[in-house]
Symmetry: C2
Subunit: 188 residues, 2 copies
DNA sequence: CTACGATCGGAGCGCAGGTTCCGGTTCCAG
DNA sequence: CTGGAACCGGAACCTGCGCTCCGATCGTAG
């Protein structure tokens, strides 16, 4: 790959990261190109489709969050850190929140990606959840789907409104615990 | 008003209810018109704007849900019924979920409506929350904004995924309680 | 029944955004 | 240095959708 091509590719990714974070998945490609200091044509040479660019970024985020729990699969509290991190990151990345939340209603072309994303996420989530449940930190009747849905929903609202992502994450965490000590405050 | 005009108005509302429930706020007006068995022009004579039609429907839903708690402002458990009902209705009405969740990022024209909606909702929510907190059913440090955000987020995912709205509502309710009896199952 | 005005329907306008195309430019092998 | 392949940029195209317009139609007062 030519050096200018590589440079532009990185610029595009960086620009898209910012633009999608602020404007969500609905942000126009033109904005990405403009912010990258590049023409739309260049964007489309590197990513065949808007969706492809979006997926590259979302996947990167998810991988980063999942990888952050590497080696902690046995730690009961790692589950809560995972949830907190997810909500926190999504709070400043609208596109991530949207992709996490909407898994029922997406076009044919997005289905494969959603399935892959869900698998990556849920595989790790299942490990962490199992550890947390075994240790009694999380009630036994909660399923991975429950957690996935709750995280998705919380992510969507984490970036707006008067509550911080941390507060919201703490409250749903308590709901999952099956009850913290009475009177415990949500952190934040 | 002429009788055919009234008939069409009702048909449009009914069609919009269904179309928006399935397709969310992004559903095109043409679909509404088609389902109502009417031309687009007719829709626009009754509702000056797509947004106006949408707001009519969302407001109706919110009013219905709020009114359902009339006279129960002192009942500590009414708060939970309110949350449950909200999430449950939004689970089969995408447009309601979208309007509830996205209160940061909306165009100029929607701002007044959002403000009004938030006020109606939060006024009643404040009453019910206060009663629940006074009786000790809900932890004292939770704010109306927390609850509003959590409801909004849960509503968004209530309609998709593997978890029922009731399960999700039960889990966040427990998070708000500050802990149910250990081992309690989320209903549903 | 008739006439008039309210109402209807859907073709069409304007705009926004995803995608394509191609002439000009830039990098690198020879 | 230089030829040509890869790359760049942005004008242009196409589709989808909110909304408007106006001739045709329908309900109702008289």
């Amino acid at each position: 790959m030519r050096s200018d091509a590589l440079r532009n590719r990185l610029r595009i990714l960086e620009a898209a990261e910012t633009v999608f974070a602020e404007g969500g998945t609905a942000a126009p490609i033109d904005d990405v190109a403009a912010r990258a200091g590049v023409g739309v044509g260049t964007v489309y040479r590197h990513f065949p489709t808007k969706r492809a660019l979006l997926e590259a970024i979302v996947r990167h985020h998810v991988d980063e969050i999942v990888d952050a729990t590497d080696g902690a699969e046995g730690d009961p509290e790692a589950f809560f850190r995972f949830v907190e991190r997810m909500v926190s990151v999504a709070g400043s990345h609208r596109e991530l929140a949207e992709e996490l939340a909407l898994f029922g209603e997406c076009g044919e072309e997005a289905l494969a990606f959603k399935a892959d994303l869900t698998e990556r996420l849920d595989r790790r989530l299942a490990c962490l959840l199992a550890a947390a449940q075994t240790s009694g930190a999380v009630r036994a009747d909660v399923t991975v789907e429950d957690v996935h849905a709750l995280i998705g929903g919380t992510c969507v609202v984490a970036g707006s409104g008067g509550s911080s992502p941390e507060r919201l994450a703490a409250i749903i965490a308590d709901g999952l615990r099956g009850g913290p000590p009475r009177g415990a405050a949500p952190t934040g």
